[in-house]
Amino acid sequence: MTDPAIWASDIRLEYRISRSNIGSIKEFAIKTVKRQMKYESLWALDGVSFEVAKGEVFGIIGPNGAGKSTLMKIMARVLPPTKGRMVVRGSVAPMIELGAGFNNELTGYENIVMYGTLLGRTPDRMRDRASEIAEWADLTEFIDVPLRSYSSGMLARLAFAVATDIEPDVLVVDEVLSVGDAAFQIRSQERMKNLIERGASVVIVSHNLGTVAELADRAMWLDRGNIVMIGSPLEVIDAYKQTVDGGLA
């Protein structure tokens, strides 16, 4: 068997939340001297271990605050785990909160180059791809216009077009399967499916259980930083639905 694309071992992540609510050195000094500094430790992830095989589509479900987004950020290298170890093999394309680093004063073209470079591609490559990216996003006529005159729909289209203009080994997706108007939603969903079918390993977080059932080979149910269940999507989704329905009844 080949090495897994993602290997997570006993991942823990601690947020230290200061209850004293301080923002300045003066307050910090006073409260430290008075011994009023209270930290509350919150384990967003509390010992999560799993593997994702090469080419596998792995779904993560769970209620708000389960630690799904935190786990995505650890896979995307944005957050280092407090404890445990995360290994990711291959190039990673994080599709989390698209559009990071967009600058309103720069033109569409300049933002395509900047955003793509922030995502780990080279500026030269982005300059080559810029016109095609803009064309796909239906933004060719706005490519030399500063971003401040873009509508929010145009921004979302541009971000999606740049983020998906790749062939990654590992794709980490957080609820970004649809952006823009109805017509663009269909095109963007198609593009996502193409990326997945190209054989990349995919981790997909979604509140849309239908999406997970349709796309995933395996699913993981996360609750309050712990794994409740890993298994076939239908099994996991069924079990998850039962607790949700039970909770409601």
Partner: protein, 275 residues
């Protein structure tokens, strides 16, 4: 794609990781520097000319006050306006670089919490942008030197040496400040005050001879005095740069950069969660 293998256990080796990160992201650094230099003035009519106008206006005001109202007895026969402008330019460079580099990481929180980019890229880019700004503004100093009959010595080609040393110094300070600023936002205000204090302790607009001998050690201790004297020596000559000043300049640059990178690297794991 730059990363093809990520292991959180091997994420950071202080100093070595930063050096390889910066090299791997040189394309991004160039983009950020260009953006910083152009965006800053994009909405203003004078644009990049503010780079030249800003120190020129400051120098104008100070020249009226200290060159005419309070007349200093100068140590050399260099015209006061040349002495003053060279000082203002270098101190402005220092102040801008430290402030921009120190706030770069807090300002880039929106990026750093969404995609993986080594954070030191932003601090170093800000310091480089300030250095480029300084090199552009040097043009007016050279023009004024010609106008005042001081001329331009050949040593001007060596000016990049103190500029690069200053780059190391300000990037190191910037990383230290950035690490602190994630915890306490008001570190940035404090930095503003500290920068102002240290610039008054540097002989930009006054000659060194007005300082009583018993206080001279304070000025000598201030590394910016060494940077400024070396810079003046190279740009118009005869500024009295001694060997120890060169040594102090290089020494402080290297030490501050390494300490800054080291402290930042060690604390980043805890910092990123707070962003």
């Amino acid at each position: 794609m730059t990363t093809t293998y990520y292991d959180s256990d091997k994420a950071r080796k202080p100093v070595a990781s930063e050096v390889s990160n910066l090299w791997a992201h040189r394309g991004l650094i160039r983009l950020i520097v260009t953006r910083d230099l152009t965006v800053r003035y994009k909405r203003s009519t004078l644009g990049i000319w503010w780079t030249l106008l800003n120190p020129l206006l400051t120098t104008g005001v100070m020249w009226i006050v200290f060159g005419n109202f309070f007349r200093f007895e100068m140590d050399s026969d260099i015209p006061y306006v040349v002495y003053l402008l060279s000082g203002i330019l270098l101190i402005t460079y220092f102040a801008q670089a430290v402030m921009a580099s120190g706030s770069a990481i807090v300002n880039s929180a929106g990026i750093l919490t969404k995609v993986y980019v080594p954070p030191e890229v932003f601090s170093v880019s800000a310091a480089i942008a300030a250095a480029v700004n300084f090199m552009i503004s040097l043009a007016i100093l050279l023009v004024i030197q010609l106008m005042m009959g001081v001329g331009i010595p050949w040593t001007v080609v060596l000016v990049p040496i103190p500029v690069v040393a200053m780059l190391a110094l300000t990037a190191g300070l910037g990383l230290l400040i950035a690490a602190a600023a994630v915890h306490f936002f008001d570190v940035l205000d404090l930095t503003g005050v500290a920068v102002q204090l240290i610039s008054y302790l540097t002989p930009t607009f006054y000659p060194l001879s007005i300082i009583p001998d018993s206080y001279l050690w304070i000025i000598h201790l201030n590394p910016l005095y060494s940077y400024l004297t070396v810079f003046r020596e190279l740009v118009y000559g005869n500024a009295g740069a001694e060997l120890w000043m060169w040594a102090y300049m290089f020494g402080s640059a290297v030490v501050v950069l390494i300490v800054g990178v080291y402290v930042f690297s060690r604390s980043w794991r805890r910092l990123v969660i707070l962003l």
